[in-house]
């Protein structure tokens, strides 16, 4: 396409995204922003073609419902059974929000404190990496043994999944020390606390937001996974329940709700990032 070949416009500062940890900030800055009505129409048209095509092909080849339900059947299940699914959505959200809040708060505080002490940071980092890379879902059976089938094991699992993600990204942010900016603040007699709140924290903010976004998506993943492992409620539990009863339209309705939830999380952080971290672009 000619658009992609066009010489990019000169930018005075090619965003400093070289010091970024788990992911980069392109989610906030260089996302393919929707610009015109034509683009919106094209996106809608693609959706219509995909959904309509699936509807037609599944009908034409007479694919049985238990293999893959038609989009119309999924939509009807979503509308018809929404009142049955809604409480489970609520439970999942409670687990996600409380687990994420705990994990993110602990992760943020730890990142802020640890980066102040390079030695401590060096010692702690391998263990944090271990926490990041270990799928916390693996611990859920153990947590259920210890805490039963209620909210507690799930909230703990979500916190354990989200916390290290938030921490490792926030730590990357807090580590971005700009000697000149700190010298500037110090030349006005700024205290350590002032330097933290007025220089270090705003500089870390874009990376903190990235951490929060990844952390919350990991949290959602872990919450649903934990619900599938055990316990009688939550969207994950609905997935196992509907699939065991071969209620595929309902099953896909739940999958759809989960996708929408994930997208909402992304959009939320996208706009927070646009508002508070767009200076990084």
């Amino acid at each position: 396409m000619s658009d992609a070949d066009a010489i990019p416009e000169y930018k005075s500062k090619p965003g400093a995204s070289d010091d970024v940890g788990i992911t980069n900030l392109s989610a906030f800055s260089s996302g393919p922003g929707i610009k015109s009505m034509a683009e919106v129409l094209a996106i809608v048209a693609v959706a219509v073609v995909l959904i309509g095509g699936a509807e037609f092909l599944l009908g034409f080849f007479e694919v049985p419902q238990y293999v893959l339900p038609k989009p119309s059947e999924i939509a009807m299940a979503l509308v018809g059974d929404f009142h049955l699914i809604l409480p489970h959505l609520g439970y999942t959200l409670v687990e996600l929000l409380s687990g994420f809040a705990i994990g993110a708060a602990v992760g943020l505080v730890m990142a802020a404190v640890i980066t102040q002490f390079p030695f401590v940071e060096k010692v702690v980092t391998p263990y944090i990496l271990l926490l990041v890379t270990t799928p916390m879902l693996a611990l859920v059976p153990l947590l259920i043994l210890r805490f039963g089938f209620g909210f507690t094991p799930r909230i703990i699992a979500v916190a354990l999944a989200a916390g290290p993600m938030v921490m490792i990204n926030a730590a990357t942010g807090f580590r971005r020390v700009d000697r000149a900016k700190i010298a500037l603040a110090r030349s006005y007699g700024a205290s350590t606390l002032q330097i933290f709140w007025k220089i270090r924290a705003p500089m870390a903010l874009p990376m903190i937001l990235v951490g929060l976004m990844i952390g919350s998506i990991f949290g959602l993943l872990t919450a649903v996974g934990a619900e599938m492992v055990g316990g009688g409620f939550g969207l994950g539990n609905r997935l196992t329940s509907y699939s065991s009863m071969i209620q595929m339209p309902q099953f896909f309705a739940v999958v759809l709700i989960l996708s929408i939830l994930g997208i909402l999380i992304y959009v939320l952080f996208f706009f927070i990032g646009k508002k508070w971290a767009s200076w990084e672009a």
Partner: protein, 272 residues
């Protein structure tokens, strides 16, 4: 205002030693200089001669290994509200707009910003109406002008400038020099300026101090006796030309002897 002969800013035997992995590094060695109230003094010298170290010590940003800095006769031990700093880069905070950047010093100090004075400064540097712009929306020259306004906003009696215009193109740089001259004519702020540009040093200063290569020492001092404002005509006279060359020779000569020394120190077999 007080005692005519007492220097505004006085550096006495300033020595700064950094301890590095490869041993101690003497950045500046027994530097002494006096700056009178209302004077503009430039410090030039080969790169790595400790100019910035000296300036940062004068501002109280980092402590000296030995020696002292006196402001109005009182030792400078830490950041001082009488001293304004302009750094190599504009160092605007990218998440704040221009207005908020300029009021940053007041926010740190917990004082009410002097709005009338800030307005006047913004008018002088031609940044009126740009208050809601963010740093990345401003040109390099505009950013450095904003940094100048920020440094002058709290009316410091001494302005320390660390290669403030080094990153600007030469036209913008001349424009900034004239701006500093104009502000000086109106405020008589004492200015110490570090620069790589001998032209800039001569244009702005009452005195130019040449530092020797590491360890940095005050090697020589040149008086710049031309009247202000220094017009293009004055700046193209033979006197200015000769002074420029003399300073250049002093710096280059010093470098030459250093290279000669290094070469004789490190004669190694050519074949590897």
């Amino acid at each position: 205002m007080d005692g005519q002969n007492n220097p505004k800013l006085s550096v006495r035997g300033a020595t700064k030693v950094y301890s590095t992995r490869s041993g101690d590094l003497v950045a500046i060695d027994r530097c002494s200089l006096d700056v009178k109230a209302g004077e503009i003094v430039s410090i030039v010298g080969p790169s790595g001669c400790g100019k910035t170290t000296l300036l940062w010590s004068m501002s109280g940003l980092h402590p000296l290994s030995s020696g002292e800095v006196l402001l109005d006769g009182k030792p400078v031990k830490g950041p001082n509200p009488e001293i304004g700093m302009v750094f190599q880069e504009a160092t605007l905070l990218p998440w704040r707009n221009l207005d908020s950047n300029i009021r940053f010093p007041f926010e740190i100090k917990g004082n009410r910003p002097d709005e009338a004075w800030i307005g006047e400064l913004l008018h002088k540097v031609g940044l009126e109406g740009f208050g809601s712009r963010f740093p990345r929306e401003l040109s390099g020259g505009m950013q450095q002008r904003a940094a100048l306004v920020r440094a002058l906003s709290f009316k410091p009696s001494v302005l320390l400038m660390d290669e403030p215009f080094g990153a600007l193109d030469s036209f913008t740089r001349e424009e900034m020099n004239r701006l500093v001259e104009q502000i000086w004519l109106e405020t008589q702020t004492t200015i110490v300026l570090i620069t790589h540009s001998i032209e800039e040093a001569i244009f702005l200063s009452d005195r130019v101090i040449v530092m020797s290569a590491r360890p940095g020492r005050v090697a020589k001092e040149y008086k710049v006796p031309f009247p202000r404002p220094r017009s293009f005509e004055i700046m193209s006279t033979k006197e200015v030309f000769d002074l420029t060359n003399a300073i250049k020779l002093e710096i280059v000569g010093d470098q030459k002897s250093r290279f000669a020394q290094q070469a004789s120190d490190t004669i190694q077999p050519a074949a590897e």
